[in-house]
C-alpha cells in the first residue's frame, strides 16, 4: 500500500481547525484534516422536533459524558467544580455554541503590565485586529458599530433583535446608567454566504436547523474543501508520531471501523481544543519526549482556564421572549476593566439570556418551588412561563498551574485511548468576582422590574470555554508554543486552539481562537521557505 503522506496534517475540524485549513488552502499544499466525529445532519437537530428540549439534554447534550456518542471521549470531571462542555464532530464546539462573538480588548493582552497578575501575551490586539476582521467576514458576524467598550470594529450584518427580554433589561441598565450594547453574534441576521437568515428558532445551543448560526461545518469547511483540503471524519488520533530527528512525523489514528491507520506529514497542526490537545500531546510519548510531546516546559495540560459563569434570572409580570430568538441578545461590559476597589483583579461580561424553553423553565421552577404543584399549578405556571429572563456573568479566570488536564489512568474512549482527567479549583479572585457579578445583576433585574430573583455561580455544567493548556510565549521554559503558534520543542508542530491562550479575558473565546488560527496560518505562509528554522 502506498504511504499516506501529506504536506499538512490538521487534527480536529472545529472552530480553529476549520479556519486554519481554509487559510492554508491557498498554498496549494496537500492538506488533510482528521476529525473523530461526523458531519452533522441539520434535520437531526433538536429544533426540528417538538421534544427539542429533551433531545437537547440527550444526544445533543453539551456534556460529552451525558451525550455519550461513540464519536465522543469521556472526561473525568470528579475533581473540578466545573465540568467540560463540548461537541465532537465537523464544526466542533461551534455546532452547539451560542455564537456569542466578542473580541478580546487591548487590555486583555497586557494583564501583567496593567494589573500585575498572570502574564502578558507575546502579541497584542493590533496584531490580531486584521485577523479578527477576516474571521468576521468568513463567519458572518452581526452587531452594531460604536460600542464604547471597544476600539472601533466593523459589523458585517445588523444586530440580532432586542426583543421583549432585551428591551426589559436594557431599561434596567439605563436606569442604573450602566453600559449595554447589542451582542456581536455569529448569527446571520440576513442571508449571507449561502446561509439563510435567523428565524428566531431559539435553540441555538442545540444546533441551528436553519443554518443561520455560524458553525464551521457551514462556514469555513465548504470553502476549504472547494479549495482542495481533504477532511476525513471518524478518524480518531491516538498519538502524534516523532521522527528520529525529533520532528513530528504524522499521526496514528483509528478509522471508522476501529482499524489502526498511520499518516505521515511534513507539518502537523493540532486543533483539538483546550482539553483534547493536551490529552493528545500527553498521550504522544516517545524516547525523545517521555513526558509527552512538546512538553519540555512541563506545561502541557497546565494552566487550564474555564470562565466561571454566574447565572442570575428573575420573573417579570409581563410576557417576554421565552426561548424565542437567538440565545444572544445584549451584553454589558460595565465591569470589564480592573477596579481593585471591587475586591478582585480583572473583570467580566454580562450576556443576556432571553429565556429558557417551557419544559426546562417549568422543571427548574417546580423544583425551586416558584411554580406550585397540585391544584394551583396552572395558574402559578402562567405567572412564570415566558416571563423569566436574566443574564450570565462570564468571569475572567486567571492561569494557575495547579489547574490541569492529565491522562486518566483508567477511563478510556471507545478506541481505548486514555480519557482526560481534570483537576481544577476555583480561585479566591474568581469567587469574589462571581459574588460581585451576582449582586450587580440582582440590582439590574430589580431595576428592570424583576422579582423572585435566583442565581448560581459557578454554573457546574458551564465548562464550555477551554483555554491555556499549551500556552504561548517567547520563553521555552514558561510556554509551549512561540508567539506564532509553533511548538518550541518541535519545529514542525503547531497548535491553534484555545490551549495557546495566555489568559482567558472576560469574554467568550471563539472569535479570538479563530483570529489566532488565521494569524498562525499567515505567519506560516510568510515563512514557508524557512518554516523550521
Amino acid at each position: 500500500m502506498a504511504e499516506d503522506h501529506v504536506d499538512v496534517l490538521i487534527i480536529g475540524a472545529g472552530a480553529s481547525g476549520a479556519a486554519i485549513a481554509w487559510s492554508l488552502a491557498d498554498t496549494k499544499m496537500r492538506i488533510v484534516c482528521l476529525e473523530q466525529g461526523d458531519w452533522m445532519n441539520p434535520h437531526e437537530y433538536p429544533s426540528a422536533h417538538l421534544d427539542w428540549e429533551s433531545r437537547a439534554s440527550g444526544p445533543f447534550s453539551f456534556d460529552p459524558n451525558v451525550r455519550g456518542r461513540t464519536t465522543d471521549y469521556p472526561v473525568n470531571n470528579d475533581n473540578s467544580p466545573i465540568s467540560v462542555a463540548n461537541f465532537n464532530g465537523v464544526g466542533g464546539g461551534t455546532i452547539l455554541y451560542a455564537g456569542h462573538f466578542p473580541r478580546f480588548h487591548p487590555s486583555d493582552f497586557r494583564v501583567k503590565t496593567l494589573d500585575g497578575v498572570a502574564e502578558d501575551w507575546p502579541i497584542d490586539y493590533d496584531t490580531l485586529a486584521p485577523y479578527y476582521d477576516e474571521n468576521d467576514r468568513m463567519m458572518g458576524v452581526s452587531g452594531l458599530e460604536g460600542d464604547p467598550a471597544y476600539p472601533p470594529k466593523p459589523a458585517v450584518m445588523p444586530p440580532v433583535p432586542l426583543g421583549k427580554s432585551g428591551t426589559m433589561l436594557a431599561n434596567g441598565f439605563n436606569k442604573l446608567g450602566w453600559h449595554w450594547w447589542p451582542s456581536d453574534s455569529a448569527v446571520a441576521t440576513q442571508q449571507y454566504d449561502g446561509r439563510d437568515q435567523c428565524i428566531n428558532l431559539g435553540a441555538c445551543t442545540t444546533g441551528c436547523a436553519q443554518g443561520a448560526k455560524a458553525s464551521t461545518d457551514i462556514t469555513y469547511w465548504p470553502h476549504a474543501m472547494r479549495a482542495g483540503v481533504e477532511l476525513r471524519t471518524r478518524c480518531r488520533v491516538r498519538e502524534i508520531t516523532v521522527r528520529d530527528n525529533g520532528m513530528a512525523g504524522g499521526a496514528i489514528y483509528y478509522d471508522a471501523d476501529g482499524n489502526e491507520q498511520e499518516i505521515s506529514a511534513e507539518v502537523v497542526i493540532v486543533a483539538c481544543n483546550g482539553v483534547g490537545t493536551p490529552r493528545l500531546l500527553l498521550n504522544s510519548t516517545s524516547t525523545a519526549f517521555p513526558d509527552g510531546l512538546a512538553n519540555s516546559s512541563g506545561l502541557v495540560g497546565k494552566n487550564l482556564m474555564f470562565h466561571p459563569y454566574s447565572f442570575i434570572y428573575g420573573t417579570f409580570d409581563t410576557e417576554l421572549d421565552g426561548s424565542r430568538g437567538p440565545s444572544n441578545c445584549i451584553w454589558s461590559q460595565e465591569f470589564y476593566e480592573t477596579d481593585l476597589s471591587r475586591g478582585f483583579a480583572r473583570g467580566f461580561t454580562y450576556e443576556i439570556v432571553r429565556g429558557l424553553g417551557p419544559a426546562s423553565t417549568a422543571a427548574s421552577q417546580m423544583v425551586s418551588g416558584q411554580i406550585a404543584w397540585g391544584k394551583d399549578h396552572h395558574a402559578s405556571a402562567r405567572r412564570v412561563l415566558n416571563q423569566t429572563t436574566g443574564m450570565v456573568g462570564i468571569c475572567e479566570d486567571l492561569p494557575d498551574e495547579r489547574n490541569r488536564v492529565t491522562l486518566d489512568p483508567e477511563l478510556k474512549d471507545p478506541d481505548g485511548i486514555p480519557a482526560p482527567k481534570l483537576d481544577y479549583t476555583l480561585s479566591e479572585n474568581s469567587r469574589k468576582m462571581l459574588e460581585f457579578s451576582i449582586a450587580r445583576a440582582t440590582e439590574i433585574l430589580e431595576a428592570a422590574g424583576g422579582h423572585d430573583i435566583e442565581s448560581m455561580g459557578p454554573m457546574p455544567a458551564g465548562g464550555w470555554h477551554l483555554m491555556g493548556t499549551a500556552r504561548m510565549g517567547t520563553d521555552p521554559a514558561t510556554s509551549v508554543v512561540n508567539e506564532w503558534g509553533r511548538c518550541h520543542d518541535v519545529k514542525n508542530l503547531f497548535i491553534v486552539d484555545g490551549s495557546i491562550f495566555v489568559t482567558s479575558a472576560g469574554v467568550n473565546p471563539t472569535r479570538t481562537i479563530q483570529a489566532l488560527a488565521l494569524y498562525v496560518a499567515d505567519s506560516m505562509k510568510q515563512r514557508l521557505a524557512n518554516l523550521f528554522d
Partner: protein, 152 residues
C-alpha cells in the same frame, strides 16, 4: 406513543403505577384551560421515556417515597387515599426532584399544553418565531458615553 413504553423500561409495573399517580397529583387536569393532567396517556408515555435515562435516579426517588409512606402512614403509597398521598409528596418533595423534572418536561413538550401557553404546537423549525426588533433609541444614553476601554 404507547409503543415507546417498551419492556426494556427499567421501572416495574408497580413503579409505573406510582409514577403515574404522582404525575396526576403534580399537574392535575385543568377545566379552565381545557388541559389534561400529566397522567394523560400520551404525556405519561413520554414521561416514561424520559425516566429511562439515568433511571436509577428515578427509582431511588420512588423508593424514598415508598419508605416515607410506610413510615408515616404504615402503608404503601398506592394504598393511601388522595389526601395522604398528597401529604407524603409534600413531605419529601425535595427528594422527588428527578421525578418532578421528567414529568414536567414531558408535560410542557405536549402540543396541547404548548398551544395553551401561546407557544407554537409544532417544532421550532421550520417557521421559527417572531421576535420584535425593538427600539434601538434605548441605546442613546450609552452612545453618549466616551469610550471606556483601557488604552495600552
Amino acid at each position: 406513543m404507547s409503543d415507546l413504553i417498551g419492556s426494556s423500561n427499567p421501572l416495574s409495573d408497580e413503579q409505573k403505577h406510582v409514577l403515574r399517580k404522582i404525575a396526576g397529583l403534580l399537574i392535575p387536569p385543568s377545566d379552565e384551560h381545557n388541559l389534561p393532567g400529566a397522567d394523560d396517556d400520551d404525556i405519561f408515555a413520554n414521561a416514561l421515556v424520559l425516566a429511562q435515562s439515568n433511571a436509577t435516579e428515578v427509582t431511588s426517588s420512588l423508593d424514598a417515597l415508598e419508605a416515607r409512606a410506610n413510615e408515616r402512614e404504615g402503608s404503601s403509597f398506592a394504598g393511601l387515599d388522595l389526601d395522604a398521598q398528597t401529604a407524603v409528596i409534600e413531605d419529601i418533595f425535595g427528594l422527588l426532584e428527578p421525578v418532578v423534572r421528567r414529568i414536567t418536561s414531558a408535560y410542557y413538550q405536549d402540543a396541547r399544553v404548548l398551544e395553551s401557553i401561546n407557544l407554537k404546537s409544532t417544532p421550532p423549525f421550520p417557521g421559527g418565531h417572531e421576535v420584535e426588533v425593538g427600539d434601538w433609541s434605548l441605546l442613546d444614553p450609552v452612545k453618549a458615553r466616551q469610550p471606556f476601554y483601557r488604552k495600552v
